[in-house]
Amino acid sequence: MFNAEVFQNPYLPQGAREVNAIMTITTSDSDGVAVAAPITNQRLFGIICDTSGSMGGAKMIAAKDAIVKIINLLPDDAAFFVVTGSSRAKLLVPLVNAVPENKMRAISQVKEISANGGTLMSTWLHTALGEFNKMPQAICQALLLTDGQNDLNDEHDLTRILDAAEGKFQCDCRGVGTDWRVGELQKIAAKLLGTTDIIPSPDRIAADFQEILTKAMGKTVSDVSLRLWTPVGAKILFCKQVSPEIVDVTSRAKVVSERIIEYPTGAWGSNESRDYHFCIQINAGNVGDEMLAGRASLITQTNGQETKITEAKILATWTEDEAKTAKIDRRVAHYTGQAELSQFIQEGLEAKAQGNIDVATVKLGKAVKIAHDSGNEATAKLLRSVVDVEDAAAGTVRIKRTVAKEDEMMLETRSTKTARIQK
């Protein structure tokens, strides 16, 4: 069951035009209640593993071991394939059902993997897309593991393959070690509706892979898009996923009709919860006017058929009552703060990288304060590996003299993770 709820203060003072709303979408096991969305039973999981020269040694051994483990964990009714990649991609295990004999054969192939060559990720994704295209009705998900940065000459091809793969499969990206580029993997993951994270040491690969697989196999509803209707004259200033992590999806809007756009949200599992922040500029009304500033709905497509799963309204009411207009909705305030937190971290780390310690101290200090105030303990902990905190409530910090590169990368990749509002 999908459930959508909007949190906002609909009251605007005279002349105001900006509406902010948080939409919380939750799914739950349907406890005997009819399931609102058509369930897709077919699941296809792609494993994409970097086998360039730099992967050799401990990383390759750990990666192979982790792949073997998740192949063993694949449910019998799923399908999978394995692509290994360096300067070229190799379809190591073509698409097969995850029945025991296929798994056995795949595992013996995985054990033969060796590392050498460069890194041209576009070729890996291209080969993976070919396999996903064989099962377009399935919930298509992949994980991509790399340890280095992509060949600079591959940028154009990578952009092209990402455009082609968008909407065809989702992909979680993982970087092992500290020689990969956060921005690069984030670009791939963002386009393919996946997550990005660092695996600081090879011995953690297996656990991380299992977590990804478990989440992937829990998806039951595919190709869900978030549709937003807005009235004449409205402008969507931004649309951000704000929980579990911040993803600005404003630019991913696709036009459905004159008043309707949609954002892809990928596949959903049960017991998931995501929050979105809409900021819409509308034509001002007169005091006393009520307006539907937006109608957000979740749509799933199965076999070319659209099903509306759930819907929520974003409203605006103009009033002269200042007691009503002055209040900011606490969820809107909370997530506005979480977005600032993420931004301060990015800017602080950038300043630090440029040697601008004063700016870095101020920015990261502000981040520490917001993390403290909003109860985002996970981010606060990551921040403490980069700064010494003197007074969290005041945001007084000192940049640590020596910071482990992996700690800094972890802070960078995970700074977008938000805390939910405290009850």
């Binding site: 807005t230 004449v232 008043r259 006017d289 009520e290 307006m291």
Partner: protein, 330 residues
Amino acid sequence: MNCHECGGTIAVDDRFCEECGASLVAASNPSSLVQPLTVLVSNISCQKCGAPPAKIDAERYCIECGFRQAVISTDTIELQPAPNLAGASDRGRRHDRNEDAIALKFIADDIYIMVVCDGVSSSQHPELASRAAVTNCLEAIELALQQGIDDPAAVICQGVDAALQAVARIPIDPTSSIDPASTTIVAALVRANIATIGWLGDSRAYWIAPDKSIQLTQDDSWMRDAIESGMYTPEEAEASPYAHAIVRWLGADTADDGKPSIVTFAIPSAGYLLLCTDGLWNYAPDPGYLYHLFQQANDSHSLPIARHLIRFANQQGGQDNITVGILVIE
């Protein structure tokens, strides 16, 4: 809370009593400007943007402009911005919605603004035209007064011009053969016992007093033109099917002909200034008879008289929307 009319239970935010339909706005907030408008969700265009009725969703939101349609009863709408200034607008008995509109404003003890409009039924969105006209006319007159414009005729012209611009802005359905949104207008500015009245169409102003009641405006109608031309006797003209056709109005199609006729009237004594639509005067065109009706009200206060006039027109058949605005001069 309880309704001031019938004592029925009402909620704080109610604009009208659910029991008797009485306006609660005028009673609780006498200075507010209430715009008479009617909504039947099924067959009325968007109040804001004029989108066709099919664009109004079940919760009354327009799926074009997003604005929610106000639900206001089609029964009498009343307003009383000052003890001596009141108005009422009523759907009548035959029409399924009220296309008239009224706006009144008390500025100071001797300064009042009154505007009455009658949307032209044969035009697109007459109810929007009349509402846009009264609101914008009143605002523009106020603004002109604030700007210190001294000539009352110029003030009235500014008000009517603002009304015209607002009406002309109402979207036109180019596929429709019906005229663009149109309305009549009669607007009065009363300052230091001088009434300056401008009009287009056949909504009227009267001076009602014991010694001499008179009609202050001259209809822009086919009937009057016909009589004045000498080609028809008053009886012949009145019998013509064109008798009530108006020859001047406010609309996108009259943008170059929006200058109102103006009359200035020095208020001679105690009495009443009455602005009304043809929903009333069709049943009582004669000023002397109107005075008689005022007497019948048995109450010299503005709102009871307005109610009495509405009741009278409905008793006579209520063939059209009825709107009256009354200023009591003591």
